[in-house]
Amino acid sequence: MRYIDEFRNGELAKGLAAAIRSIADPARQYRFMEFCGGHTHAISRYGVVDLLPPNVRMIHGPGCPVCVLPIGRIDQAIRLATQHDVILTTYADTMRVPASERLSLLRAKGLGADIRMIYSTLDALAIARENPDREVVFFAIGFETTTPPTAAAILAARAEGLCNFTILCNHVLTPAAMHAILSVPGEALDGFVGPAHVSTVIGSAPYEPFARDYGKPVVIAGFEPLDVMQAIYMLIKQVNEGRAAVENEFTRAVTREGNRKAQALVSKVFELRESFEWRGLGSIPSSALRLRPEFRAFDAEQRFEVPYRSVADVKACACGDILRGIKRPTDCAIFGTACTPENPVGSCMVSSEGACAAYYTYGRFREVAA
């Protein structure tokens, strides 16, 4: 397939792997965090780690939309569907995230709640149109990539007077989470592989403080395996040269300014929340969005009585430390035993972008020679 196969080419990968080996200083360790679950998935799915020297370690960051969703938020969505009799629409991955009382959206659906999986916010609007006598709530989650489509849906709903459509807003912000990771003491990171799709929207400029103020190199990379390898090469080079800059490997889609139109759409509809609870990272100030006052009519939290209640994670689950890069999935006591993709305890085991699920599914045993 054109424009895809080129970025998965085994021969090119061999060349890049050799280039990485040739510049990686064997006398030191390199610890890079790929922020995005999309990168985590690509690294595991294509076996990129097998092509890296042992002193280059990839740490899997919190950029997986469902992994950072706290239990209390899923509970809210379930309460909407079960107690307020709404049609709850949501992206697929969210369905299996464990909530309180051994529930998940999937299980709540099995118990009779009207919960529907959708591909696009347009589907949610269509459901609202087809069911004028029902309330339809879109469980809006995700980073900056999924926020503009939600904004567009809100504007469309307002334009056509779709009064039975609201959203439960959980849109979160990438740079805020990166700040949170860097401000918590832990093992030092040597740099970030910066998000692909998120950066197409926000551009590369928002990462400049991480290079300038924290001295961390950031290389924005596409989601294909050769993109990731190229970014790792560029990060090692910066580290070796003692530089910290924002560089862009993903120039075929990302500019410094990003997608101005999408940004305008988002700021028209949303404003910053003072604080938002992330699973594993705790409450982070100014890290999420809510609807602006003039759009509150579309806010499910305003229309329905579903107050947010914070719920502590299961004690044995190490998702918090894993999301911050302090622990590897295999360091968790319940990894692969009590917590598996069939019965996830922590959210990192749910989505294929979650670090634990990626480890479990693709890498818990490897011996194929590279």
Binding site: A13, G47, P65, Y91, E353, G363, F365, A370
Partner: protein
């Protein structure tokens, strides 16, 4: 007393109603004017509660499969032909010559008789083309809202060929793993209809009866140890099933697994892995390594096996892992699918 007048079936605008399953005249009429007309053969003509099969001898194989596909009609087939081909393939991968089919329909009240007629006609055509008659059947009607139009269960009977011993438990370390063609075609044909995806070259289901291709394979390579059709759960799931049943592991090569470009593109778009997408006309074959070339050539000599390929090797591994060399040059596990394959968010 003369036979009471019954209005003829309205195959254009008519709908299934509860009387079509109630055992009365309406049901008799549906059977006579629709099912029997399309599927007629000497066994159905017996008109009894079951079919008497006089000439069965040898090792008999029975297999059954329920079909609940939505949409009912898709590029490359429909639930009718699918239900015939699926059961024929289940028999054929057991090393059996498929001989007879039994079919049961669960119809939803309100289902269009025109669509039902289309489905039954397609079923009859598939059965004739494969030379495997439907010898007995049953129809039930459920209330509106309790079904999805039509569900079809087919059961097949076949006789194992002399000298053939195929089972999912017979894979041995060192054996070669073969695949009869491209993967993901059926599942993505269904998905592209459901999701309204269109491509320059439309994705067509691979639903097909494989018994003739398998017969050619067994003529050349009777020592085949395992055959299994890679249906629900796709190639990845089928390999895991065989590995567990045989108590072995496997190593496969990603670059040797054929995937059609539109299927690959649709999978990319929806965030799905073709390894876990359903097929309805592809089999996995495991045979001794020295037979592999002959087996691939035999499959390739039939149009339904034109893209057959050797994709890997059976290994000793008590954990029954399927490992894959990725096209990039790394390694990964091809695990059991957990739950349904769900599209990713961003």
């Amino acid at each position: 007393m003369s036979a009471q007048y019954v209005r003829p079936l309205d195959l254009k605008r008519g709908r299934v109603d509860l009387s079509h399953g109630a055992g009365g005249r309406a049901m008799a009429q549906l059977i006579k004017d629709l099912f029997a007309r399309e599927l007629h053969n000497e066994y159905l003509a017996q008109g009894d509660d079951g079919a008497r099969l006089d000439n069965l001898a040898g090792r008999i194989v029975v297999s059954t499969d329920a079909h609940v596909v939505s949409p009912l009609f898709f590029p490359g087939g429909d639930i009718g032909s699918l239900s015939v081909n699926g059961t024929i393939n289940d028999l054929a991968v057991m090393g059996a010559r498929p001989l007879y089919l039994a079919v049961s329909f669960i119809l939803e009240e309100g289902f269009s008789l025109a669509e039902l007629a289309r489905i039954v006609a397609s079923m009859a055509a598939a059965s004739r083309a494969a030379g495997v008659p439907v010898v007995t059947g049953d129809t039930k009607v459920v209330e509106r809202g309790k079904g999805d139009g039509v569900y079809i269960t087919t059961t097949g009977v076949g006789v194992v060929r002399e000298g053939i011993d195929c089972s999912g438990s017979r894979a041995r370390p060192g054996d070669a793993i073969l695949l009869s063609g491209t993967i993901g075609d059926h599942g993505m044909a269904i998905m592209s209809v459901r999701e309204n995806l269109s491509f320059d070259a439309p994705i067509v289901s691979d639903s097909a009866p494989l018994h003739e291709m398998i017969a050619m394979l067994l003529d050349e390579v009777p020592e085949v140890r395992v055959m299994r059709d890679a249906t629900r759960g796709g190639l990845g799931t089928t390999l895991n099933e065989i590995a567990r049943q045989s108590g072995v592991g496997m190593v496969i090569d990603e670059s040797s697994i054929p995937v059609r470009p539109p299927v690959q593109a649709a999978c990319e778009l929806l965030g799905l892995d073709p390894l876990y997408v359903a097929n309805e006309g592809k089999i996995v074959v495991i045979c001794p390594p020295e037979s592999a070339e002959r087996a691939v050539a035999a499959m390739r000599s039939h149009p339904l096996g034109a893209d057959a390929a050797r994709i890997g090797e059976v290994r000793a591994d008590e954990r029954n892992f399927i490992q894959m060399r990725t096209a990039l040059g790394g390694g990964r596990i091809v695990d059991w699918l957990s739950g349904e394959q769900l599209p990713r968010i961003c």
